[in-house]
Symmetry: C2
Subunit: 381 residues, 2 copies
């Protein structure tokens, strides 16, 4: 959904919404796995009180902040108070308000490359000076960040999609999380740990949050990937000073969120046994889809491309080893009836021309196998 | 809900949420008049399609844009296409995104004084140069604006709450609407006609929209006052170029609104006979409340204060003619069990010390009479 860098790619993908095109380009949960009936019940319960449709606090409905604080306390392995939580209109709004609160024009911000396009857009609006650090199979190259800091770079923020990276699929290793936290303490920057996918692991939980190691970490997460995007419930966890700054900006930005959807999210997140079973279902289903994607790529594109490791989240990162230009491949792929996002869409300074982001969450294993066959046909042309 | 200028007043009013205090300070619809059952039915219908809980277009659900375009066509007396509508997270978000799109730091923006605090906050964030024009009983003093323009002021935007002003209660007369449109054409500024209350007239519809007279008018409105704030559905109507700029900014701000609440709003707004009856009910009930407030003020505060004319909306403007300082009165009033917002909260450059904004929508006539009796008791202390 976030802005793609190349409007040419955006125009191409606009064509991709035709029903005969298998879409691997999105970044969406499968609507058939959204708990519609549980949400219907929660809406019914919430509407028992007329105030459910009234304005609410700018920082979010108190009950939701408490439920999130309890979950984030487990994530951070320390007590997180509700006053340290601001509920935002998806975690994209948290990014946007944080940039407004913390990033002056010209300030240096470090992001990962390939980049989550939503953070790029926000930082460009803030007129930040963007410095990139590459990713490898263990996530952000924290050693490269250390070199940048040693050479004098002084970022105000370092942004990382620490777990099941968008678009790269990788997860920051435990050692690098510790190293990143140490650098934040030593150099005084804030880490924005953008973590919408962490709950969507397939078999093994990811390493502990970077926030376990340091108080200089602002965590962002969301109900969009685990419950439903239309709740528009994301959140940030930060110290009360940052929360107050974000609250004032949110007041000007949109007054407040929807009390109704906040109450629904609170109901579902607080229903621990139901939510655990729901997550278990998502993990199993998305895990089997990722497995189907891997098998198909290994079979159909052997020798031409390698699919990166997938342990959770929504994306696999396909790297062509035969010099295929994925911008060019996209046109051929659309003609064969499959869409993906070429790596160049996530490049900050160009590059990423031989890679592609494949979303595996919105199609069944059979459709995914079909999609990869179409991709292989496009590639062989 | 918007930021009050004085944190002292905000702190005082935080105390005012106690149940024994009658609240005239808010700016809320009465939750008991929100059509809860109709909304419950609309949610049920929307949830019949799983995609109702998915992400949606940044500019809003297509069906809602079409319904709004049809209503706004009637308002503007010309065909408004859905491509000229962006659905925002309440009309506050429309204000905020417009300011980002159109107001560079240092640019001149004209607003009315006393001011809607939400616009003040947004313009201060944009580092606009704010120039004020006073209001009288016929709304904005467009003659004063004309003098400012003649003397060389070149605003990029002129913001007006044209109908049932917040906080001042007044409505811009038909003559002044024409004059304002002519000035916009002559000097090339844009008018932002902020119109969340226009449907809430008591007996007589307000004059035609300023947009009838000029294409240089961006209209803002909202479902928050007529349906429910928790839908978080507002909108702007502007030319496609402005809409595209706002869309790009909204993508960075929060990706998109809630498909679910957009579908609900579209359902209710498109159900014309139901909506007409619903509005008729609100007009009658709010009209009777405004009448009760007027009678009580005329009786209890005769000689001390005058309540401005109220033809609709949510607010009456009380002006003390006996030098009462309403900041000081607020403390006494809270002690008597009634809350209001003193005029100083809406002042841009100080002043408005002898006036108060009274919200009449959230209390029954009996409670309003009781509230004014308490206010009179506080005044007589």
């Amino acid at each position: 959904m976030a802005a793609l860098r190349s409007s040419a790619i955006r125009d191409l993908l606009a064509v991709a919404s035709q029903p005969d095109v298998i879409g691997l380009a999105g970044g969406l949960p499968d609507p058939n796995l959204v708990p519609v009936e549980r949400i219907r019940n929660a809406v019914d319960a919430a509407l028992g009180v007329p105030a459910a449709l009234q304005y609410t606090e700018t920082t979010g409905v108190a009950r939701l902040r408490e439920v999130v604080a309890a979950r984030e306390s487990a994530r951070c392995r320390r007590p997180v108070d509700a006053s340290q939580v601001v509920v935002t209109h998806g975690s994209q709004q948290a990014l946007s308000l944080l940039a407004q609160a913390l990033v002056d024009p010209g300030a240096t911000v470090v992001i990962e490359e390939p980049a989550y396009t939503g953070v790029l857009q926000v930082l460009r609006s803030s007129e930040a000076r963007i410095v990139t650090v590459p990713l490898d199979t263990d996530g952000m190259r924290v050693d490269v960040l250390a070199d940048l800091l040693a050479s004098g770079e002084r970022p105000v923020l370092v942004h990382t999609v620490s777990t099941f990276h968008n678009p790269r699929g990788v997860t920051l290793s435990a050692d690098r999380r510790r190293a990143l936290a140490e650098l934040a303490e030593r150099y005084g920057f804030l880490v924005v740990e953008d973590d919408p996918y962490g709950e969507l692991y397939h078999t093994t939980a990811p390493p502990e949050s970077v926030a376990v190691q340091s108080n200089r970490v602002i965590r962002l997460s969301s109900a969009s990937k685990t419950l439903a995007p239309a709740l528009r419930v994301g959140w940030l966890v930060a110290d009360p000073k940052v929360c107050t700054a974000v609250e004032l900006l949110k007041q000007g930005a949109d007054l407040c969120g929807s009390q109704l959807t906040h109450l629904v999210a609170a109901d579902l997140l607080a229903d621990e046994s139901w939510f655990a079973a729901h997550l278990a279902g998502l993990r199993a289903e998305y895990g089997s889809r990722a497995g189907a994607l891997r098998e198909a790529v290994d079979r159909e594109l052997a020798g031409a491309a390698v699919l990166g490791r997938i342990d959770g989240g929504m994306f696999g990162w396909l790297e062509f080893v035969d010099d295929t230009d994925t911008d060019a491949l996209l046109s051929a792929a659309l003609a064969e009836g499959v869409a993906f996002v070429p790596g160049s869409a996530f490049a900050v300074d160009g590059g990423q021309r031989h890679s592609a982001r494949l979303c595996f969450t919105t199609n069944t294993p059979d459709r995914l196998r079909d999609a990869v066959a179409r991709l292989a046909a496009a590639h062989s042309r």
